[in-house]
């Protein structure tokens, strides 16, 4: 990377849409996920070895990044475009890349800073195969935009991976026979502008206003990573990460119909569950929470309301509560990121597709009612997480409504 390059990509240039609890960067909706979610999702996809998942694992990333860079690089020369692409990658928390050797022939890129490879090892240990498909897709998109190539004529692969024990990640990008999926143009985001059931909690606005804009502080550090709340965050193109879910379930359905969908869906829900559990736990034990939220909390239900007041500033839609008790809760999300994404890329769905949102709500219920978090005793380890799940009656999840199904909002019932 060049020494102190000018800042060509700055997340602060992109405003947060307060009405829809949404943020977009150059036409792509952006959402945070944690390393628990991203790795669990990807592992579930890769465990279905009979699916040619590399096609969409690379293709989904290439598509979203291509769309962004094709806009952001307008008017920039090649060198400036490279710097912008490096900075965007780092800002989003994917690690570090040095594009200085990319030319008309492509690039053989080497890096030892990779969100996917480093956090896979943290969660699962060694992998038999390379895991940083996102970066392969990212580099393919950079090459296509900068050298005016078609994505379908790019051969992109990861040839070594730190998750497999290699010293570096290496990616090879060159012109050739395309080796990943290409997707048709998608619609613009279509919000469902319906009256919202508000959270109805007197402290909501105070807390939300305190955290509004905080999302912009979550940017990659000197290693290109975003450690926060005891997890590693990454700012994803929403369509990239959601396409992984949708293409996975589509493939499972093609193989085994509803049975395949069910097996896949259970693991997608669990990915959201782990995300909600670990990330929300970290957030609710942070000093920011202690300072700005904790003083308003009297009951366990207030902890949930407090959390929702915070996360509504992160770009995932407007979460709210229809019913809430220890045994049963009904949550809504207006303009949730999964449904907006599905509608934009695929149109209508025959069944709810908001696994990450719904798993997240379930993880939150587990956290509040089945752990001692509110008394200051969080569970932070994978083994602690497993033991707690085994020793308590778990919550069940029923996804009842979704925008992609024609409803006005996402709704999920969590019960035991």
């Amino acid at each position: 990377m060049s020494n102190q390059p000018p800042l060509l990509f700055d997340i602060n240039q992109f405003s947060f849409d307060v009405e829809h609890n949404y943020i977009e960067v150059a036409g792509e909706a952006m959402i945070f996920h944690c390393h628990h979610y991203m790795n669990y999702l990807q592992r579930s996809i890769l465990d279905a070895e009979y699916i040619e998942s590399h096609l969409f694992l690379i293709g989904a990333a290439a598509d979203s990044v291509y769309n962004q860079l094709a806009t952001l690089c307008v008017g920039l020369d090649i060198e400036s475009s490279k710097r912008l692409a490096e900075q965007m990658y780092k800002t989003f928390g994917y690690g570090l890349i040095d594009l200085s050797t990319m030319d008309e022939n492509g690039i053989e890129l080497q890096t030892d800073k990779s969100f996917f490879s480093q956090t896979w090892q943290m969660k699962f240990g060694a992998s038999k195969k390379p895991v940083d498909y996102y970066t392969t897709g990212y580099l393919a998109a950079v090459y296509a935009v900068l050298y005016n190539k078609s994505l379908k004529e790019i051969e992109a692969m990861q040839v070594s991976c730190m998750a497999c024990g290699d010293q570096f990640n290496k990616h090879s990008i060159r012109s050739g026979k395309g080796n990943f999926s290409i997707y048709p143009p998608k619609e613009k985001t279509a919000f469902k502008n319906v009256p919202k059931l508000k959270l109805g909690w007197e402290h909501e606005e105070t807390i939300s206003n305190t955290f509004l804009g905080a999302h912009a502080t979550f940017i990659g550090d000197q290693d290109g990573l975003i450690p926060a709340f005891g997890v590693y965050l990454v700012r994803n193109q929403s369509d990239y990460v959601n396409r992984l879910q949708f293409e996975f379930i589509k493939a499972m359905s093609e193989i085994a119909g509803e049975y395949g969908e069910k097996l896949g869906s259970e693991l997608l829900l669990e990915a959201g569950y782990a995300c909600g559990f670990f990330t929300y736990s970290g957030l609710m034990t942070s000093k920011e929470w202690d300072g700005a939220v904790r003083p308003y909390l009297k009951t366990k239900e207030d902890w949930i309301r407090g959390l929702i007041s915070v996360i509504n500033t992160m770009g995932w839609g407007y979460h709210t509560i229809v019913e809430l008790s220890e045994n049963r809760a009904v949550f809504r999300n207006y303009n949730d990121f999964e449904d907006l994404s599905f509608v934009r890329m695929y149109g209508k769905s025959n069944y709810p597709i908001h696994w990450a949102n719904s798993g997240g709500f379930t993880g939150l219920m587990q956290l509040i009612y089945n752990t001692d978090l509110v008394d200051g005793h969080p569970i932070e380890s994978e083994e602690g997480f497993r033991q707690m799940r085994r020793s308590h009656i778990g919550y069940k999840t029923s996804m009842t409504k979704g925008i992609s199904c024609g409803d006005d909002y996402l709704e999920v019932e969590v019960y035991r």
Binding site: S44, A48, M252, A256, Y259, K262, E266, R390
Partner: protein, 72 residues
């Protein structure tokens, strides 16, 4: 025919929470070959679950690989 339920019970006691779903996902083509559509609910709600011997050993091997241990 062998009862596969004890293998799943062992995996649940020693592996991740969704280990049954993960084993089934990994073995989906094989399950279909044996005309089996086992789910986690079926495992939970049935006293025993008999499958062809070769499928039994496949499930056992996969469970042991995923969990990292030996199922007696």
């Amino acid at each position: 025919m062998n009862d596969i339920k004890p293998v799943f019970i062992w995996a649940q006691a020693n592996g991740e929470i969704k280990i049954v779903d993960r084993i089934l996902l990994k073995l989906l083509p094989e399950l279909l070959k044996y005309n089996q559509k086992i789910t986690a609910e079926m495992v939970e709600n049935s006293a025993e679950l008999f499958v062809d011997e070769s499928l039994y050993y496949l499930v056992k091997k996969t469970a042991e690989e995923l969990v990292g241990g030996h199922c007696e």
